[in-house]
């Protein structure tokens, strides 16, 4: 049952659909916006309209793009045989910062989460498979988050892609640099032990 008059309730409903905003917060934000000077409120509305009009998702990799393709996909220097699969566009920023990856990306726009009822059909999985042949992809690097949803997504994709004759790799989720061993949880430590490498005989 709605307590507020039409437009106010509409605003609360819309805000309540944003990620991480519960009914109480939606109400609080709505009343904040009501008190805002018209110019400020219009600027916010314009920013939303503008971003929806000018920015969309890349037709190829579902990164954020200002044209049909994102800056990375339209860069001829990128290695097209290599795809790094991430959950969200912001993960691309993190990988790009390393300067270590010269291939292209594929954004799933989420991760498999059985408890939320999110399976592969809700993600850009079919779109990833459709890219493999035309782009002559030889290696897919699974760069999903090291949490249960990201692990489930990586396991699913690896099972889906390996039979296609591709090299499928998963980023190592080892011990964070700067973290203390005593704080490492058992699962991370166990996996890191399995993925251990031989040290050079002369040290370093």
């Amino acid at each position: 049952m709605s307590v507020y008059a039409g437009p106010v309730q509409d605003l609360i409903d819309e805000l309540g659909r944003l990620p991480g905003v519960g009914p109480k917060s939606a109400q609080r934000i709505a009343f904040y916006l009501l008190k805002l000077p018209t110019a400020d409120a219009t600027r916010l509305a314009d920013a939303i309209t503008e971003v929806k009009a000018r920015v969309a998702f890349c037709e190829r990799c579902f990164n954020i793009a200002e044209g049909p393709e994102c800056g990375i996909c339209s860069d001829p220097r990128r290695d097209t045989h290599l795809i790094c699969v991430v959950e969200e566009p912001r993960d691309i920023v993190a990988v790009e910062k390393t300067g270590e990856f010269r291939g292209r990306y594929h954004v799933l726009q989420g991760a498999i989460s059985p408890i939320e009822g999110i399976g592969p059909d809700q993600l850009k999985v079919a779109e990833l498979v459709a890219r493999l042949e035309p782009e002559d992809v030889t290696e897919v690097i699974l760069c999903t988050n090291p949490n249960i949803e990201g692990e489930a997504t990586a396991m699913y994709l690896s099972r889906l892609l390996k039979p296609l004759g591709l090299k499928v790799t998963r980023i190592a989720s080892g011990l964070p640099v700067g973290g203390d061993l005593e704080y490492a949880d058992e699962l991370t430590l166990g996996r890191a032990l399995e993925g251990r490498r031989e040290l050079e005989p002369d040290g370093d």
Binding site: G20, I112, P114, I115, E116, G117, I118, G119, P120, D121, P146, N147, I148, E151, A152, M155, Y156, R159, P176, G178, G179, Y183, A184, D185, E186, L187, T188, G190
Partner: protein, 238 residues
Amino acid sequence: MQLYRDQGVVLRTWKLGEADRIVVLMTKGHGKVRAVAKGVRKTRSKFGSRLEPTSHIAVQLYPGRELDTVTQVDSIDHFRAIRDDLDLLARAVPLLEAVDQLALEGEPNRRLYEMLVGALRTLADEGSPLVVPGFFLKALALEGFRPVVDHCVSCGATEDLVAFDEDAGGVLCRSCRRGGAISPDALSLLQRILGGQLGSALSEPPGPASHEVEVLATRLLEHHLERRLRSVDVGLAG
């Protein structure tokens, strides 16, 4: 407000703000607990991956008005076999969702907690297809909704039981039949699960009867909860 310690299983988590998570726990002594884990999404978090769904943990919490705060976590069992196997994970999550629906905040339910830990352990060790339906049926029995499987719910006949109806709450004989059909093998599995022979039922190899029991137990639980379980059938089966 006093710090308290308990053991629990992480049922689900969701993101809060930039680096925090809300975790929902089924605890041994405090029923369902919702708590915030601060900084858990940072890679240097001391909580690491201990606060992921399915993890069995010993936890220290600080009570709050709406949410408690996790101050310390130790791992009891992270059920690695489940975490590293998509099929097992796909079956573990409905257990967590069912407990999230059945358990209440501030109402201790030690039996349900123990059943959940037991089911996760069995799933990790043996992976039997009947772990999940067995858990659903036992949980319903614990709630006081034990389905009748030994005699016809309508006339009491013990022979020729051929149908199962969740509205009626059990099996029906040929002359009273309504609801869906049930095979003799599936009926025998139901009787063993609810008749104190869960262990022997779990050792049965997967087959049409165990699949039938799986579907039936899910339907029965959903009927009791008056909602669908979202984590069943998300399309992970390989």
